[in-house]
């Protein structure tokens, strides 16, 4: 589904991703871990189409298409979803208006009729339950005045509404208490199918107790330096990232 090949990305002449490679297939869950500043969020943004980054080398193929040629909205309509690490507050745009517009833009792209008002409200209610949002969401401005936990739940709510094929969740667990973490993880698990895939970016192994990954990758200095299964995450939790660094230095000195 997703193939990232030899990707090099810079911002302001500073190279962040250095020969990054990854392949994600339908039905898989990948976890990308690693210390701060190794380029995890840059990777997520580049997949979603943020234009402040410069791709200097490599390619990203999604369902065989060259993703880098597409603007962010087309990527979204093709089924890519980015769960933001810091969801943006947009005063004056109601959640209902935002979601209805988004759902209909995607439907239009797929050649479908716009969703009717009643059906839409039903969909909103149904998906709210998935992430246990009790409050009235419809007339609230997007993320405005939301608590940290609400913002993250809102990301998963939007994911549920848009029903993406490939979801990139950028530190969706950061700032969540244990209950919110469970709710968010449950939401993600319920949305898992054999046809979609999820890339979870996180610092901590904790989230991976709930969202069990098929693959765990460790990122360091702009590329994946170690891959394994879920046990790698547990090992990392025990030994810390220094273990990876030492291993890298040892290899380099050979």
């Amino acid at each position: 589904m997703l193939q990232i090949k030899h990707l090099r990305v810079s911002i302001n002449q500073k190279e962040i991703l250095k020969d990054f490679n990854l392949e994600v297939k339908a039905g898989e869950v990948h976890a990308i871990m690693g210390p701060n500043g190794t380029g995890k969020s840059t990777l997520a943004s580049v997949i979603a189409g943020r234009d402040i980054f410069e791709v200097t080398e490599g390619e990203i193929l999604y369902k065989g298409k060259n993703l880098l040629d597409l603007p962010p909205e087309t990527r979204a309509r093709e089924g890519i979803f980015l769960g933001f690490q810091y969801p943006v507050e947009i005063p004056g745009v109601s959640m209902a208006n935002f979601m209805k517009t988004a759902v209909n833009e995607i439907r239009k792209y797929k050649g479908l009729e716009p969703i009717g008002g009643a059906d839409f409200l039903k969909l909103m209610e149904e998906k709210k339950k998935l992430v246990e949002i009790q409050s009235k969401l419809n007339n609230r401005s997007v993320n405005e005045g939301f608590s940290g936990g609400e913002k993250k739940k809102n990301e998963i709510f939007q994911m549920a509404m848009l029903n993406p094929t490939l979801s990139i969740l950028d530190e969706t667990d950061s700032g969540l208490d244990i209950d919110a973490l469970r709710i968010v993880a449950n939401g993600v698990n319920k949305l898992r199918t054999k046809d979609n895939a999820t890339v979870v970016i996180t610092h901590y192994q904790r989230l991976l107790d709930y969202i069990v990954p098929d693959f765990v990758h460790v990122m360091y200095d702009g590329k994946i330096v170690k891959s394994g299964d879920k046990h790698l995450a547990i090992e990392l939790e025990e030994k810390g990232y220094d273990w990876i660094k030492q291993e890298l230095e040892a290899n380099a000195s050979i």
Partner: protein, 469 residues
């Protein structure tokens, strides 16, 4: 009709016009009103038209607009037209009492002046001068400041007609009054409507003013409105401006508020040729509240200027001001908001903000919020922002599948919405909200519906014979 040649300045023309037409201008005027007008023309002669060397007009160059060969229609008789055949309200659930100024003169269906059962009087200023001279005498030129600028003095000197509204004590006027200002001629006109709104003690009224131009001919409107909101009374004033590119509109409004009087003003400028709104508020009572909101949307070479002055004269009053603008292409806007807190005005709360979005490098905003405080126990704040659309928000919306235009539109509307949602009447809020989004999508033309709907598809069919005027 006065034909004036181009080779003398407009100032001289106006002075000559005054001298020559005293009989018309002083019609039904009392001795004291005549004195006021004579003093006003002397003031105008002294100070002339404002120019860019004056601080208040530094960024508002009116001079090019004074050069056209304008016609001045001073002779008039009120004419009887079927207003409903011209206008039809497009706002469902909005039951309004409609009055119309056409080229600065009051036009009507049956009667130039209506007295409602509750004693409220609505209609032509000129007719009111005849029928209610004591009310006019008591209030005319009591709130306007002729030394503010030459346009105010000139308007006072030439005051003939306009909208007159009088709400007696203890009356809640449930029905909103809609005031339609239309400029529509095939010739270049200079009009000077003079409005007087009096809201007596404990009364309340909502006014919706619509400034509208239907033709592309040059026109110049120098309007002055005087408003008294007496003790414990309330006025909601919503102003919608949708003007053609060749129209020049100066709107100067003076408001006097007595104890516990409340004003809410919303000014929505959707299209402007050259518009300047001056809002001059005297909080001449304790416990007053003045809420001033504005939104201006301008593109191409449109110019819109909002000057506000809120004068806190006595203690315990609150003023709150929020003006927002979105400027595209080469549009220019000016915001100047001044809050004065006099020595006696302790416990004043004054808040002022002006926020702008510039969509191009060539769009310009000059913003100047300022405070002048002489009391020591007050809470005041002011601020201005100028920016572009938030890139983070744009990306967020696009990452959910919204196209770039759609996302931009949504953000611009959201920006404007903070002002729109302050409009007190829901039906109007919805309608105006739709007009704003239509405007932002570039689908609102100046010939489009105002709050009122023009039935005639072609403006030239607007069939009023000017020779009757």
């Amino acid at each position: 009709m006065e034909q004036i040649t181009i080779d003398i300045s407009l100032k001289d023309k106006m002075l000559a016009l005054f001298e020559k037409n005293k009989q018309l201008l002083f019609k039904n005027n009392s001795k004291s009103m005549i004195d006021i007008k004579n003093n006003a023309i002397a003031k105008f002669n002294e100070i002339g038209f404002p120019h860019t060397k004056l601080e208040e007009w530094r960024l508002t160059n009116i001079e090019p607009y004074l050069k056209a060969e304008y016609q001045h229609h001073l002779q008039t008789k009120p004419i009887d037209v079927d207003i409903e055949s011209i206008f039809q309200c497009e706002v469902p659930d909005l039951d309004t009492f409609v009055v119309v100024l056409f080229n600065g003169r009051y036009i009507y269906k049956h009667t130039p002046l209506t007295k409602l059962d509750n004693g409220t009087i609505i209609g032509s200023f000129e007719k009111a001068l005849e029928e209610y001279p004591e009310i006019i005498e008591k209030h005319f030129n009591k709130y306007a400041k002729n030394d503010k600028n030459g346009f105010v003095a000139l308007n006072t000197a030439f005051a003939q007609d306009g909208i007159f509204i009088y709400v007696p004590q203890n009356i809640i006027v449930e029905q909103a009054i809609q005031i339609i200002n239309i400029i529509n001629t095939t010739e270049e006109v200079f009009v000077q409507p003079r409005n007087l709104f009096i809201v007596e003690k404990n009364s309340s009224i909502t006014l919706v003013s619509c400034d509208h131009s239907l033709t592309q001919t040059n026109s110049f409107s120098n309007a002055v409105t005087e408003i008294l909101i007496d003790e414990n009374a309330q006025l909601n004033h919503i102003r919608v401006q949708n003007k053609g590119k060749n129209s020049t509109l100066l709107n100067t409004t003076f408001v006097e508020q007595k104890n516990y009087a409340m004003l809410t003003s919303n000014v929505l400028t959707l299209n402007s040729g050259f518009i300047r709104n001056d809002l001059d508020i005297s909080l001449n009572g304790e416990g007053c509240e003045a809420n001033l909101y504005g939104i201006y949307l301008a593109d191409k070479t449109q110019f819109v200027d909002n000057h506000t002055f809120v004068d806190h004269l006595l203690p315990n009053s609150n003023s709150k001001e929020l003006y927002k603008g979105i400027l595209d292409d080469k549009a220019k806007a000016v915001f100047s908001g001044k809050v004065m807190v006099r020595r006696d005005a302790q416990k004043t709360n004054a808040f002022q903000a002006n926020k702008n979005i510039l969509l191009t490098d060539e769009a310009t905003i000059n913003t100047k919020p300022h405070l002048e405080i002489y009391a020591d126990d007050v809470k005041c704040s002011h601020g201005a922002t100028v920016g572009q659309l938030d890139n983070e928000a744009m990306f967020y919306l696009r990452s959910r599948g919204l196209g770039e235009d759609c996302a931009r539109m949504l953000l611009m509307y959201a920006f404007a919405d903070e002002v729109i949602n302050k409009i007190p009447i829901e039906a109007l809020r919805v309608r105006l909200g739709n007009m704003v989004s239509k405007r932002l999508r570039g689908e609102l033309s100046v010939c489009d519906q105002c709050v009122m709907h023009c039935n005639s598809k072609s403006p030239t069919q607007f069939n009023i014979d000017l020779s009757k005027l």
